[in-house]
Symmetry: C2
Subunit: 555 residues, 2 copies
Amino acid sequence: MKDSRFRDVDIRAPRGNTLTAKSWLTEAPLRMLMNNLDPDVAENPKELVVYGGIGRAARDWACFDAIVASLESLETDETLLVQSGKPVGVFKTHADAPRVLIANSNLVPHWADWEHFNELDAKGLMMYGQMTAGSWIYIGSQGIVQGTYETFVEAGRQHYDGKLAGRWVLTAGLGGMGGAQPLAATLAGACSLNIECQQSRIDFRLRTRYVDEQADDLDDALARIARYTAEGKAVSIALHGNAAEILPELVRRGVRPDMVTDQTSAHDPLNGYLPAGWRWEDYRARSKREPQAVVKASKASMAEHVRAMLAFAEQGIPTFDYGNNIRQMAQEEGVANAFDFPGFVPAYIRPLFCRGIGPFRWAALSGDPQDIYKTDAKVKELIPDDAHLHRWLDMARERISFQGLPARICWVGLGLRAKLGLAFNEMVRSGELSAPVVIGRDHLDSGSVASPNRETESMQDGSDAVSDWPLLNALLNTASGATWVSLHHGGGVGMGFSQHAGMVIVCDGSDDAARRIARVLHNDPATGVMRHADAGYDIAIECAKSQGLDLPMIK
Amino acid sequence: MKDSRFRDVDIRAPRGNTLTAKSWLTEAPLRMLMNNLDPDVAENPKELVVYGGIGRAARDWACFDAIVASLESLETDETLLVQSGKPVGVFKTHADAPRVLIANSNLVPHWADWEHFNELDAKGLMMYGQMTAGSWIYIGSQGIVQGTYETFVEAGRQHYDGKLAGRWVLTAGLGGMGGAQPLAATLAGACSLNIECQQSRIDFRLRTRYVDEQADDLDDALARIARYTAEGKAVSIALHGNAAEILPELVRRGVRPDMVTDQTSAHDPLNGYLPAGWRWEDYRARSKREPQAVVKASKASMAEHVRAMLAFAEQGIPTFDYGNNIRQMAQEEGVANAFDFPGFVPAYIRPLFCRGIGPFRWAALSGDPQDIYKTDAKVKELIPDDAHLHRWLDMARERISFQGLPARICWVGLGLRAKLGLAFNEMVRSGELSAPVVIGRDHLDSGSVASPNRETESMQDGSDAVSDWPLLNALLNTASGATWVSLHHGGGVGMGFSQHAGMVIVCDGSDDAARRIARVLHNDPATGVMRHADAGYDIAIECAKSQGLDLPMIK
Ligand SMILES: NC(=O)c1ccc[n+]([C@@H]2O[C@H](COP(=O)([O-])OP(=O)(O)OC[C@H]3O[C@@H](n4cnc5c(N)ncnc54)[C@H](O)[C@@H]3O)[C@@H](O)[C@H]2O)c1
Ligand SMILES: NC(=O)c1ccc[n+]([C@@H]2O[C@H](COP(=O)([O-])OP(=O)(O)OC[C@H]3O[C@@H](n4cnc5c(N)ncnc54)[C@H](O)[C@@H]3O)[C@@H](O)[C@H]2O)c1
């Protein structure tokens, strides 16, 4: 198993508009799978790890090869099934059916924990798909920048009158997702102190300009923060160290950040969270040898970490969980009031979800950055009156380097998604874009996830744990003709704590594609509006009415 | 909530070939939903309960009305979404997409237990869909007769050289499913002693000739068994009493049955299993008032019940769990060796699953029994050389009264299912049948369920709990054009212990239907063969090869 998961190779998706597969509907998943493993995109591509702890794109290298071979030969009326990163069957379907159907990391609830997952994983029977790793629509850190940016901006609106100049954010974790934090804070106008225990991660973020500078030690970091906030400059500072040690120390010293959050991989105590006092190399080695002891140490440190976050919250400092399940872990370790600070979704994101707004994204299969710049311009043209969106597009172009195939993310909702998708398809048809584009989204979206410690925390009607919704979302996207559809378990917050669905659709410029795009990019966000309307949110009920949704029980 | 769940009405599906809805693709789910609530079919239709404890067809009566209204107006390119028995949205899809997509009782794993479900259920946010209750393809006790018959026959083959004359089966539970046991035992050639704590259930089974006679008390029952087994007659005896009291008494007396099993609703301690010494009415009343105390008493009795079953097993008597999760419940109550006797699937059913064989069924939307008799004849014509199957069809016609719309069940597998489906569609086209038929199956089928205490117990590769498989099954059936597709959690073995998928397809005699039937009735059982081939079963690997399946990693 271990060896079958390592290959000393650099994968890069083909560029240009020559097909390797039999159609763009199969070329697209092929390129996006490979793009997920591009060394510029993935965290540890030689072991097939894309992001988020051990979120993989394929179960092992033999499976990767077999997926590629299947996609190369797949006909336009066939569908490939992928089970936890392994291609298990090719079936005759029809032109309007998805070309790939994916189920990753799903376990019958009573057995849905890390212990059981790790056992199956070690046996070669499973793979952790995270959200967009196993469903082939990860686009590097950019994907998360806007979400984090929207969150910081909204927090700034709620707590600081929309002015973040002279303020600073305290956080940790500069991994695949967390690495977006310093840049997002800067774009939002705030300074940030970013604790990360692996120097290699800091180096990566310095290289890609996601973080501005590295401090020598905690004193130096605080001095820089004091200087830049006084000057009103939005500079991001990385600090090499362990959050479970540094946060308690900051509390002891009486330091007061203006906002506190965290993006270590706390959802995965075995692989993603370094215990206080440990070295990373020892942590990784011992994870294999003595998993139980490692999990214990890791969770004990999370408890300390959360106690410090609670101390900040008690001082009135806006403190929130950024979706890594650290409160749950701390609670299991005896921190009874771990949930006293909120998750970022109920605090800042839910009103957007009510209108079907979420992490919509697209990628240029050509590999040509110009294709994305042209779509940027098209977005501005079609949505002329949204200054916030225009500002995002400008800053993104200026500050965010593409990783792998050029891509753009942009939080839009029901109505606009289909409009943009149809326009992009038209641009492919006319030759304005040099090759087809794919449109997808994160699983963390309005209608596609049940995750009571994160996306569905504190739902108004108490339906946090009802996972009928993401399942219906996946079934409807399949019925509507998305190009690939996925159903995952355990993304973000770890085994047992979430179920979620993904979808990607190809704009190849054809009439058939236009019909599918119109259905999928309407129905997909509409399930989110439906789910929130059903839970009783007024914003969602109004949105459903204004968009003409047919919801039989909503009058 | 309670009131909205009771309506003093008798529902009966329309008969004949006049449409109420806009096409047969929507008329079919409409009639099958209503048929699930036919007083001749359902256990407690006025409370919307179809079978299996509290398995419902719709969340409440307002939801039932709204589903009916939606189906009546649904276009042939629209799809209705049903979330735990509530119609939540109507979306534009296309002609080859399912007309209804259903997700029932799904909960994020960490919250997937009865306690949480009951809380949501009481709030009106959920419904228990069981397997075919919430997915509208329950056909009364006949559905289960053949499964039980196949199980008893296979057990007879393995343990008694295929001769069950003079043998007797000890079991309990004469509910919706369990009521099939006495008839199945008789058809298999054995006597049976059937313990049931509700006289009304015994009366129902006597009336429908599923059970032959009722004994006055235990002594009388044993005397009858002694007489009939001596005479070699296959007579079924009902006994009014509590299995948790009678089984231990039989052990004490040293009585030796030839086979022991159980079909009380042990999967649901709150609603389905009477504690020893209690009266049914008190149990129901107290379930509402003091749920925790009731669950405790019920599970304690299950532990006694299982201890008695273990005592029989230790004497070498073939003893098996018939899929009601009673071993799990007993284990939770401290019966450490509860799993020492096997479930019926690994013991007797898995070799069938490896060839995609399972509870295939169809129903005549005309309501005319002649339509079913004609399909019976067609089955014999198309499968001329299967004596076992012919015997089943003859006995079923002779002994099993139709309940609701006439229907037939018949365990066939990959290859034959599509052949029969296409033939039935042809019979509709030619007018040989007086109206369309629907073809479906139980969720308990080869590729559609993950249930480690039942259908996927003791898988060869240890993949019992991997639920990617039923999710892929549902996605593929959706992509292939089944008429309705469902994804449920907790059927049979209760909350937390299973995930499973259903599908139904309409034969309306059209070319479009034929194309969909060819895809769906091939792909659906093929996912079962695929799942078992992936787990390493030789029978499945051979079947995949002989049927020409394209399984990329199976060489
Ligand atoms: N809400 C969301 O949508 C959302 C978005 C992004 C990330 N997340 C969650 O945030 C977490 C991080 O995601 P990721 O993709 O960046 O994961 P990752 O594994 O790539 O990165 C985690 C980083 O944390 C560092 N780290 C671990 N323990 C540490 C400690 N004690 N002190 C300091 N640094 C430590 C690691 O070295 C690593 O660089 C995950 O749990 C993910 O699910 C959620
Ligand atoms: N493996 C399978 O596919 C399969 C098939 C059929 C049934 N089952 C399981 O079997 C169980 C029964 O199903 P059902 O639809 O008949 O349920 P049901 O609720 O309709 O019937 C259960 C019957 O058991 C009786 N009962 C309860 N406690 C009793 C006790 N202590 N002693 C004697 N009788 C008692 C009840 O009065 C009721 O008539 C369920 O758990 C179901 O999931 C599994």
